[in-house]
Symmetry: C2
Subunit: 249 residues, 2 copies
């Protein structure tokens, strides 16, 4: 039995804005068993407050503190390192980072899923800062995501563009980076080897968690595709979150 | 003695809009010796007509037909393959591709140095076409270029972004691709082994040419940096175009 549980959100708790069958009850069961819990996500289009509002709207009984998002991990890192970033992030996050946005002389570049702010002028500004030695930080390097039936470009392609242009490598502060899983576990005060990560993305959620020392569990909902389990040897497998919680928690 | 000569333009013929010392006379010498000649460039911000206008303005006695540019290579390829591309190119090239621009159902994506047209909406449109199976074609994959004292993002970073997003590999129809050098030599009717490529970019011009079967010559002007010759073993080396022509042509 794990001492703490990390859950991916999209494709595990809900799909197309509707909770997946049995998932609300499964989270309730985890909470009532007293498992320290974090919902972990790379989403950088929404604030934690908005994610919380959406999940409670679907019936999930969670607190805002139980959401550990890539933007939250980025804030901790930036403040711990005393960085003054140039922020290339979504307008929805402006409020969350309001106290850190204005930097007279940026010495870092932070990328989220900036959507239409990924344009030539903003990318060139970031490129010049990278050439001057600023580190490149990103909230995930996902290729794309599903939204209302369409695939949308995520931050990953723009991370690759800037890495190639400036000849640098980004530090990713989202799944599947070890730093990200470690940050979530630090909040819970639990060692990686005592924690279970449940997700539908075999690479980012499951294999990433295994690489960070956690136990991984792949659920066959969301973006799961038949055969994915082969990419994370040793991972647990469950049909959905309800079964995963029932069998492994 | 080579039967044909290919010359890079920027950094070999001119720098900062001024002809390099001895280069005008060197091109004159090549022409008077009767060497079949092509000026080869990945520039996709300018039409061949405009490049010709600039070079003749600097005193170069060349014809428009002697310029072999990545856009020209792209046009040949697109027409030979009967493709209907979605064009993500610079506004300066709109005129050059006017007869091919409007495509009702694009079945290919063509990238040049599109400058401010590299925005989220255009890239996402290209991404969706790639997911539907359209091939990705690019006029070079250069990281950046110098312009009026500043470094500007070239097409390469956006090629990488789309390759990563869609999980595809681009066909590059500019230096250093074999197809590009072969296209220039085909116009001249000369075999690769009988041709000499002179350039200042050790990777794109010189090593690329060597890989395509040409003899390569690196000149120590333009973007040349001390030690570059180590990256193209077997290449000829000259201080500038004047010396290269005098010694090797």
């Amino acid at each position: 039995m794990p001492q703490a549980v990390l859950l991916d959100i999209s494709g595990v708790l809900y799909q197309d804005a509707l909770p997946l069958p049995g998932s609300v009850a499964a989270v309730e069961a985890l909470q009532s068993k007293g498992h320290p819990l974090r919902l972990v996500t790379n989403t950088s289009r929404l604030t934690a407050v908005e994610i919380h509002r959406q999940l409670t709207g679907m019936g999930y009984a969670i607190t805002p503190e139980q959401i550990y998002s890539a933007p939250k991990a980025m804030r901790s890192y930036v403040q711990a390192q005393g960085l003054r970033p140039y922020w290339l992030i979504h307008r929805n996050l402006q409020e969350e980072f309001a106290d850190l946005l204005e930097q007279a002389e940026p010495n870092a570049v932070v990328l989220g899923d900036a959507e239409e702010r990924f344009d030539y002028a903003h990318l060139e500004r970031a490129f010049h800062l990278l050439l001057a030695g600023a580190p490149l930080l990103a909230m995930g390097d996902n290729r794309y995501f599903h939204s209302r039936g369409a695939l949308r470009l995520d931050a990953g392609p723009f991370v690759r563009a800037l890495e190639y242009a400036a000849g640098v490598q980004a530090l990713i502060l989202g799944k599947p980076s070890k730093e990200f899983f470690a940050g979530a576990l630090e909040e819970l005060g639990v060692a990686a080897s005592d924690a279970l990560m449940i997700g539908d993305d075999v690479e980012s959620d499951v294999f990433g968690a295994q690489q960070a020392g956690l136990l991984g569990c792949l659920v066959q909902t969301g973006k799961y595709r038949s055969g994915d389990e082969g990419k994370a040897p040793g991972a647990l497998l469950a049909k959905d979150l309800a079964e995963a919680v029932q069998r492994f928690c």
